[in-house]
Amino acid sequence: MNLHEYQARALLKSVGIPVPDGDVATTPDEVASIAKRLGGTVVVKAQVHAGGRGKAGGVKLAKNADEAHEHAEKILGMQIKGLMVEKVLVVPAEEIASESYIGVIVDRASEKPVVMVSPAGGVDIEEVAAQTPEKIFKQVVDPRYGLLPHQAMELGFELYGDVKQVRQAGRIMQLLVRAFWNAGASLAEINPLISTPAGDIIALDAKIVVDDNELERRPDIAQLRDVSAEAASEVEAREAGLSYIQLDGNVGCCVNGAGLAMATMDLVKYYDGEPANFLDIGGSSNPEKVVTALRIITSDSNVKAILFNIFGGITRCDDVANGIVTAASQIDITTPIVIRLTGTNEDEAVRILRGAGFEALTDMDEAVQQAVKLAREAA
């Protein structure tokens, strides 16, 4: 789950990382009143889950409250990479002496969190890593010890020459690791971390991505979710315990298991079709889930054929068959459905489906080919 900048900076602030004053707003009037309180030049920043906000016109300097109001009128409601801006963050414009990058990510190779820093801050860190990898410095964090003071200092000396700034930056890195841990994050970064002409070190922009598996035990973080930033169908799917991602194709897929779901999409493509979605109904055999899945798939008007691909293991084929039959009785499904089922209780499933007028296949390739053909015909 991605957090907005204003949410991430609140988490950083809560552990003691210095961030600029400022506040979030949803109307131009609120923006003007925050700008007035702050005084001087401010920055109005669109709060959306997308990179390149600046280039898209979502980040503007304003010399006074009136200018801030004007900018807010334009930014609030604009679309950035298909996402509507509903909130802006208003902060004082800081004078910048230098820009660095600090971040914490979960690293698969070391099986631990890794702190990454670079004196080349303020730009996309992936580009820095690709172009000038020698400007990136890393420290694996043993979660049993946290980021140790000397490790933070070692990284700090890669960013600053002055030992006071090294200590400040090192302290901020330790706090960032704490914020990362508190949030159950898979990524926490400050970019840029700036030094001011007066020598202070401040977090100017922040990004935090939370591990979805953490949300159950962290209600305070879970409630930060901004459902308005997500497709409605994906929200509905998540709430029903389904894993669903909408794509651009016309073959709706309903599969048990994430790997098989991806392989099914790939096979649609292999047979020159276009998958309309990723959808994993998971391991359980709840017919209700199948009903919800069908409702979500059929609400996508691009979908011209629906493909079920079920390999029964824990999932019982007869449960899925019952779900399909129930859904068909509840929803007016005009799209053709191709069903492939094999494994646990396969025979019973075929009986149920045939009873309701559905055909059932057992071969995956055959089913995919048929669904692609039906979608092409309907298009």
Binding site: P113, D212, G257, A261, A263, D266, D365
Partner: protein, 289 residues
């Protein structure tokens, strides 16, 4: 022969009285697995299905039954602790089926497991089956068949699909290992490749990967210099969009890294036969054998 588990595997089931635990325990016993103990705190002294003794702690189970392997079905929020308990009790193999364990829990649990000298398979995996011998996990026994093919996979049902294709064509399996779909797991492709390479019964290996991370690339590199047996591979997620988690916590393309294309390229470079679709597994293997 087989890898990780065989006829001598003595299994303790953590969470034996839970919904998933009891269901799969019955299947494992039915398959012929030596399930010697179960653990549910507070139910120590009872019997599961009138035959498997239940203990309050894994430690008790091990000292009473000599269990050497654990399989974990407890809910995600207790699962990392269950792994620690199994490692602390001295088990040499721990198979964690539980899905949804926070990755930070695993960063803390894994060093403990490694310090204890145990092997963890998973989490978020279907487990291990050595057809005809033993099963620790949830891979359906009826789709498997004894034979010479080693299967290692990050996936669940996709693995069943591949096993199903193999068995249908008379290509039985020595062992099938689901290593799990999370970013941080106890046993990786290389561990399994190395074990299959050393297993005299295994004559060829099927590797099933997916998008996200670099495990398949490292496996390919390993195969190129350390595996003499034929290997064929599949990568799921060729049509996956970047930046979205495809069900599995570990299946996500970050920026330009972790794509199916780069992984398939790496497999090819290492001389691994690349399956374009699951059904290709049989023809590709037949070519190489």
């Amino acid at each position: 022969m087989s890898i990780f588990i065989d006829k001598d595997t003595k299994l303790v089931v953590q969470g034996i009285t839970g919904r998933d635990g009891s269901f799969h325990t019955r299947h494992m016993i039915e398959y012929g697995t030596q399930v010697v103990a179960g653990v549910t705190p507070g139910k120590g002294g009872q019997l599961f299905d009138d035959e498997v003794p239940i203990f309050n702690t894994v430690k008790d189970a091990v000292s009473a039954t000599g269990a050497n392997t654990s399989v974990i079905y407890v809910p995600a929020r207790f699962a990392a602790e269950a792994i620690l308990e199994a490692a602390d009790a001295g088990l040499s193999l721990i198979v964690a089926i539980s899905e949804g364990i926070p990755v930070l829990d695993m960063t803390r649990a894994l060093p403990f497991v490694r310090d204890a000298g145990a092997r963890l398979v998973g989490p978020n995996c279907p487990g291990v089956i050595s057809p005809g011998k033993s099963k620790a996990g949830i891979i359906p026994g009826q789709i498997c068949q004894e034979g010479p093919i080693g299967v290692v996979s990050r996936s669940g049902t996709l693995t069943y699909e591949v096993i199903h294709q193999l068995s249908k064509s008379g290509l039985g399996q020595s062992s099938c290992i689901g290593i799990g779909g999370d970013p941080i797991i106890g046993t990786d492709f290389i561990d399994c490749l190395s074990a299959f390479e050393a297993d005299p019964e295994t004559t060829a290996i099927v590797l099933i990967g997916e998008i996200g991370g670099t495990a398949e690339q490292e496996a390919a590199e390993y195969v190129s210099h350390s595996v003499t047996k034929p290997v064929v591979g599949f990568i799921a997620g060729q049509t996956a969009p970047p930046g979205r988690r495809m069900g599995h916590a570990g299946a996500i393309i970050s920026g330009s890294s972790g794509t199916a294309a780069e992984k398939m390229q790496a497999l090819e470079t290492a001389g691994i036969g690349v399956m374009r679709r699951p059904a290709d597994v049989v023809s590709l293997l037949r070519e190489q054998l």
